[in-house]
């Protein structure tokens, strides 16, 4: 039977010639990931399985990125639990403060995930690695515990939606605008339990950073995973970052999709998702010109990569952050941070009046750094604008691209970067 990219990867990892949607399988894992919050729950569960060692110390990754650098004593204790476990088990891919970055930027950068892999992570944005042509999906702490013990995870083989991308994005329109446009179109449960497969001749025009951003937010449409073909750019990325051999899977021409969409990238414009759901998207013809904001957040697993930093720097160069706005910029990894220093972005950000932070997930989930008071508004390049996500339950989050967020930081109002 004809299969999608996702179905082929799952079949190969389950040792089956083919799989069909709805089939329940046990798949072998190439990587099991956790962070300081989810691993702290998974580690005691791992002990309860009776396993004395992780299934493969080179296929477990633990990244202390959420409440780090430690935000309080309890967070410090959770990190200590993870650190002790990682040392005891000899976990190869263990990243602590000074080496750590936001997990979903870090794992591809370190070459831990390559095309064709089957990856689970106890973090919902694990779906990011689909940009490399891998199957990767978010799971919970119990799945992480059992994955570390056995090297396997149970899956229901998903149906798929196909998004055929054509054309090329206009200037100042990015992967973030593409995925917000799609979520606005299909809704926050529009891809529930399903794969989102991105194909078409428009793919080649998207940078790898754009593709990571698009796959990263597949979960915000409810998807099990998002995936791009492992084309020339994805294979070049994998070769640059990893020495591991990899397998390229392409969908069969007659693979079945439950719905198909065609998106001409050249017709897209900047998109902002209004409170309190990522599906509440508007383009600038529907956004009031005087919508004031108190804070701007640029970074996260969604938009903390070098291309995102470059987009923000291009806007902020020679400009100042509006006096009524607090702007916080946090590159996703140590390498990206260093690149920002070397390329002069750090100086641009600090000269503009932005706070330039060490990598952390803190601001995105209201963990620490940039928490909002009652009634405040933030425009953010992160992924969720749920009630209370970044602070008080009456605060508001507007999701946008780095260019839109940076332009808004300059004017103090939500601003189309093309008008600056």
């Amino acid at each position: 039977m004809a299969m999608t990219m996702t179905q082929k990867i799952l079949a190969a990892h389950a040792g089956l010639d083919s799989v069909v949607p709805g089939q329940l399988i046990q798949a072998n894992l190439d990587c099991v990931l956790g962070n300081d919050i989810t691993s702290a729950v998974a580690i005691p569960e791992f002990r309860k399985t009776g396993a004395k060692a992780v299934f493969d110390r080179e296929k477990v990754a633990i990244v202390l990125d959420h409440f780090t650098p430690n935000k309080d004593i309890k967070a410090a204790e959770q990190c200590k639990t993870c650190r002790t476990f990682a040392r005891e088990m000899g976990v190869k891919h263990f990243y602590d403060v000074g080496a750590m970055g936001i997990e979903h930027a870090l794992l591809p950068e370190k070459g831990i995930v390559v095309p064709g892999d089957c990856v689970i992570g106890a973090d919902s944005h694990t779906c990011t690695y689909g940009a490399l042509g891998a199957f990767s999906t978010g799971i919970g702490s119990t799945d992480m515990a059992v994955g570390m013990a056995t090297g396997q995870c149970w899956f229901k083989v998903p149906e798929a939606l196909r998004f055929t991308l054509t054309g090329k994005l206009p200037p100042l329109v990015s992967g973030k605008d593409v995925i917000l446009h799609i979520i606005g179109m299909i809704g926050v449960d529009g891809a529930l339990y399903k794969s989102m497969e991105f194909v078409g001749d428009g793919v080649a025009s998207l940078t790898m950073d754009d593709r990571f951003t698009i796959c990263n937010m597949a979960i915000e449409a409810g998807a099990k995973n998002g995936i791009f073909p492992a084309d020339e750019a994805a294979q070049a990325y994998a070769k640059e970052h990893s020495t591991r051999p990899f397998q390229v899977y392409a969908a069969d021409p007659d693979a079945e999709y439950v719905a198909e969409y065609t998106i001409d990238l050249s017709t897209l414009s900047p998109v902002v998702a209004f409170p309190h759901l990522p599906e509440n998207t508007r383009t600038f013809d529907e956004i009031p010109k005087d919508l004031k904001i108190d804070q701007v957040i640029i970074g996260s697993c969604t938009n903390g990569r070098l291309g995102d930093m470059a987009a923000a720097a291009a806007i902020l160069k020679g400009r100042k952050i509006h006096p009524d706005v607090r702007c916080i910029i946090f590159p996703a990894t140590q390498q990206i941070y260093l690149d920002c220093v070397r390329l002069g972005y750090a100086e641009i950000f600090v000269s503009a009046g932005a706070a330039f932070s060490t990598p952390t997930c803190g601001p995105c989930l209201g963990g620490h750094i940039g928490i909002m008071a009652a009634g405040e508004k933030t425009i953010s390049t992160t992924n969720r604008n749920f009630v209370g996500r970044m602070g008080d339950v009456t605060s508001e989050i507007y999701l946008a691209s780095p260019a839109t967020a940076a332009a808004s930081a300059v004017t103090g109002c939500i601003t189309d970067p093309r008008t600056l």
Binding site: L24, I37, T38, A40, V41, P44, E45, K48, T49, G50, A51, H66, F67, K71, D72, K74, A75, Q78, G121, A122, D123, S124, T126, G138, I139, G140, S141, T142, D143, A145, V146, A149, T150, W154, V188, D189, L192, Y193, I219, G222, K224, L277, L365, G366, G367, R384, F386, V387, G388, R389, V393
Partner: protein, 165 residues
């Protein structure tokens, strides 16, 4: 197995941030998380909920973060079952893995009201609203998932398998 309790009712897209906000994720213990369960959507929930009570919600319950703290806080708050029109997929598998009973039933989710007394027969998937007398048929679990639940969750099942080797 059966459950019976009073209903707490919520709408569409109840996300894991409102079920258990990140500010409480610095403690992994279920009994601690339970004190803050639903705090950003229903601040009175943790005070009012009684052992055995049931949550009924509309579509896409548990969307957002993969934090297992969300179903854990609900389970440890004493909730016996969550009924929804649909569940976000990570919340769905987390609930099965930790042994929090969940049922998909759009009709029940639409009609059952807050404060109703509802009973659930997990073997048959029949939901009864004892306040109105109406019954609903929820989707059953496939045998693969029933095995996980019968083994008292994925960890216990894995332990049994590893010991059997």
């Amino acid at each position: 197995m059966n459950a019976k309790g009073k209903v707490f009712k919520y709408g569409d897209n109840v996300d894991t941030d409102v079920i258990i906000p990140a500010r409480y994720l610095n403690d992994p213990r279920g009994e601690v998380l339970a004190q803050y369960c639903m705090i950003d959507i229903d601040p009175e929930f943790a005070k009012k909920v009684q052992k055995g009570d049931i949550i009924v919600a509309n579509k896409n319950f548990g969307c957002g973060s993969s934090r297992e703290h969300a179903p854990l806080s609900i389970k440890c708050a004493g909730v016996s079952c969550v009924i929804a029109a649909s569940f976000a997929r990570i919340f769905y598998r987390n609930s099965i893995n930790i042994g929090l009973p969940i049922l998909e039933c759009p009709e029940a989710a639409a009609e059952i009201q807050a404060g109703d007394t509802v009973s659930v027969d997990f073997d048959s998937g029949v939901i009864t609203d004892e306040t109105t007398g109406k019954t609903y048929q929820a989707q059953g679990f496939p045998p693969f998932i029933q095995e996980i639940m019968a083994a008292d969750g994925l960890v216990a099942q894995t332990r049994a398998k590893l010991e059997g080797k």
